[in-house]
C-alpha cells in the first residue's frame, strides 16, 4: 500500500472522536462562516473543554518530544563535533535518515512497524500511540537539535578548547567547562525555532490515530461547517500563546545567561 493510501485510512479513523463534539444548532454548510456570529463562537466555547484536552495532549507531546530530542540530540551533536570512527559515522547517518524522512512516515513506522508498547507509569499509562508519537517526534527533533548543537559547539573558537587544555583540563573537561557553556548560550535561537516546529508538528500524530489540538479542531468544524473560521482562530490563538510564551521564556533565559552580563557557569 502506498504511503498516501495508508494516510487516508488512518486519517479517516482519527475522525471518530468528532462524534463526541457537541453539534451546533444551525444546519451545516448553509450559512457562511462569518467571524463574530454569536452562535458559532458559542459553539467553540461549548466545545472548549474538548479542544482543551487536545491542547493538553499537544503540550504533553511537545514537552516530552523536546526533552527526548535534547537528551539524544545534544550528545549526538557533540559526537559529530568531537567523536570519530564508527560512532560518529553512525550518528551522522542516523541524523541524515531522520531528517530526510517525512515526519508522517516516521510516526507510522514507530506505531505500525516498530510497534511501541503501552507504558505503565503506575498512576497512569501512556498508550502505545502516544509513546510512538513521542518517540517519532522526539527522535526527529533529536536529529534537528543535534545540528543546532553541532553548529553551536563548532562556533566556539578553537582557542577556547586549547586554553582549557593548556591549564591541564582533559579534553572532556575542557569541552564540559569551557566549550559547552558557551555553545548552549549560542544554541538558544536555534532551539526556539525547533521548539516552535515541534509544537506545530505534534498535529501530525493524527496519522497514528491521536486527536490533539488541531485534529480536534478539524473534527469540530467538520461537524459544524459554519464555524470553520472560529474554530481555526481559536486553536491558532492557543498555538500562538504557547509559542509566544515559550519563546519569550527562552529569550529571558538567553539574556539572563548572556555574556558578559550573565552569570558564570
Amino acid at each position: 500500500m502506498s504511503v498516501s493510501g495508508t494516510l487516508a485510512l488512518v486519517a479517516a479513523e482519527s475522525l471518530d472522536p468528532a462524534a463526541q463534539a457537541v453539534t451546533g444548532t444551525r444546519p451545516a454548510g448553509i450559512a457562511p462562516a462569518f467571524i463574530g456570529e454569536a452562535a458559532d463562537w458559542e459553539f467553540v466555547l461549548r466545545n472548549a473543554d474538548y479542544l482543551g484536552v487536545g491542547a493538553l495532549l499537544t503540550i504533553g507531546l511537545t514537552i516530552a518530544s523536546i526533552l527526548l530530542g535534547f537528551l539524544v540530540g545534544f550528545p549526538a551533536g557533540a559526537i559529530e563535533v568531537y567523536g570519530d570512527g564508527y560512532l560518529k559515522r553512525a550518528v551522522s547517518v542516523a541524523g541524515v535518515v531522520l531528517r530526510g524522512t517525512p515526519i508522517v512516515v516516521i510516526l507510522i513506522v514507530m506505531y505500525f512497524v516498530v510497534g511501541v508498547p503501552q507504558i505503565n507509569l503506575g498512576v497512569a499509562s501512556v498508550s502505545s500511540a502516544v509513546t510512538a508519537g513521542i518517540l517519532g517526534l522526539g527522535l526527529r527533533s533529536a536529529a534537528y537539535q543535534s545540528q543546532i548543537f553541532r553548529a553551536a559547539l563548532s562556533s566556539v573558537d578553537a582557542g577556547q578548547l586549547e586554553a582549557g587544555r593548556s591549564i591541564g583540563l582533559s579534553r572532556f573537561e575542557a569541552v564540559r567547562y569551557v566549550v559547552v557553556p558557551q555553545a548552549l548560550r549560542r544554541s538558544i535561537p536555534g532551539f526556539q525555532n525547533e521548539f516552535t516546529i515541534v509544537l506545530k508538528d505534534t498535529s501530525i500524530v493524527f496519522a497514528i490515530g491521536l486527536a490533539e489540538l488541531l485534529t480536534r479542531g478539524y473534527d469540530l468544524f467538520s461537524e459544524q461547517t459554519t464555524a470553520v473560521l472560529e474554530v481555526i482562530l481559536f486553536i491558532s490563538a492557543i498555538y500562538f500563546v504557547l509559542t509566544f510564551t515559550t519563546n519569550r521564556a527562552l529569550d529571558r533565559l538567553g539574556s539572563y545567561y548572556a555574556i558578559p552580563e550573565g552569570e558564570s557557569a
Binding site: 573558537d157 586549547e162 586554553a163 587544555r165 593548556s166 591549564i167 591541564g168 558557551q182 555574556i259 558578559p260
Partner: protein, 248 residues
C-alpha cells in the same frame, strides 16, 4: 650560559604533512632562566613553543623537562600542562567566565581545590597582575592589556614550574604593551623560568639569558642577548635584526 639541566630540547623536528617546519632544533634552559625565541613569522618559533606543552606534537627529537621526557607517548599530557603555564597571543580567555573564574577554573577543576580556596588563589593571582579591582569583569569588558594580564594570572594560578609565552603582546595596541611587559618583568624578578616567543627586542635584550634565532625551522644562531644583538655571527641574524629595528 646554562647547563641545561631543567629544559633540554634536542634535535626536535616537526612536519605538517610533507612540510618540515622544525629542523633539529636544540637549546637548553636552567631553572630560573629566561629564553627568548625570535625569528620571522613562519620561522617555527611558536610551533617550537607549543611542542613543549604538547599543544603541537613533535615527530622527532627529545624534550626533557625536569628529568622527564615530554615527548614520551606514555606521558600524561594533562599532568605536563598542569606544571607548564601558557600565555596565548590571542589571550584565549574563557569568554563566559569572569576574570576571577577564568583564573579559578584550573585550581578548582584540575588541582581539586575547594571553591573558597580556588577563589582565594585566583584573587591573589589577579592582585599579582594588578587586576584586584576587576575580579567580576568578563573578558569582553576588559582592555586587551587587562585580558592578557588575566591570561598570565590564569597560568600562574597553577603554580607552574615553566611559563610559555606565545607572542603575548603581538595582538595588543602599542599603548597596552607596557602593562603586560611590566608583569612579565615582575615574573623575571621573582625567578620564574620563562620561554618567550616575542618581537619585543627590548624585552629580550633586558631580561633574556639566552636568545634563540629561528629561521625556516632552523636554529640559525643563539647566545646571550648582548652578543646576538650587537655582534650576530650569522648574516641572516643581522638582516632580521635590521628589519625589526627599522620597524621599531
Amino acid at each position: 650560559m646554562s647547563d641545561g639541566d631543567f629544559l633540554t630540547v634536542s634535535d626536535v623536528s616537526k612536519w605538517y604533512g610533507d612540510e618540515q617546519v622544525l629542523h633539529d632544533v636544540s637549546f637548553e634552559m636552567d631553572r630560573g632562566d629566561v629564553t627568548v625565541l625570535i625569528g620571522p613569522s613562519g620561522s617555527g618559533k611558536s610551533t617550537m613553543l607549543r611542542c613543549v606543552n604538547r599543544l603541537a606534537e613533535a615527530q622527532e627529537g627529545s624534550i626533557r623537562l625536569d628529568g622527564e621526557e615530554v615527548l614520551s607517548p606514555d606521558l600524561d599530557v594533562d599532568d605536563l600542562r598542569r606544571e607548564v603555564g601558557m600565555v596565548f597571543q590571542g589571550f584565549n580567555l574563557f569568554a563566559h567566565l569572569t576574570a576571577l573564574n577564568n583564573v579559578a577554573l584550573g585550581p578548582r577543576r584540575v588541582l581539586g581545590l575547594s571553591e573558597a580556596d580556588a577563589r582565594e588563589r585566583a584573587e591573589d593571582q589577579l592582585d599579582r597582575v594588578g587586576l584586584a579591582d576587576q575580579l567580576d569583569s568578563y573578558p569582553a569588558e576588559l582592555s586587551g592589556g587587562q585580558q592578557q594580564r588575566v591570561g598570565i594570572a590564569r597560568a600562574l594560578a597553577m603554580e607552574p614550574k615553566l611559563m610559555l609565552f606565545d607572542e603575548p603582546t603581538s595582538a595588543l595596541d602599542p599603548e597596552l604593551i607596557g602593562e603586560v611587559l611590566e608583569v612579565m618583568h615582575g615574573l623575571v624578578d621573582e625567578g620564574m623560568t620563562m620561554l618567550v616567543v616575542t618581537h619585543e627586542m627590548s624585552f629580550a635584550r633586558e631580561v633574556a639569558d639566552e636568545v634563540v634565532f629561528l629561521d625556516e625551522g632552523h636554529v640559525v644562531e643563539r647566545g646571550p642577548p648582548d652578543q646576538l644583538f650587537e655582534r650576530p655571527e650569522k648574516e641572516r641574524t643581522g638582516r632580521f635584526l635590521e628589519r625589526i629595528a627599522s620597524h621599531d
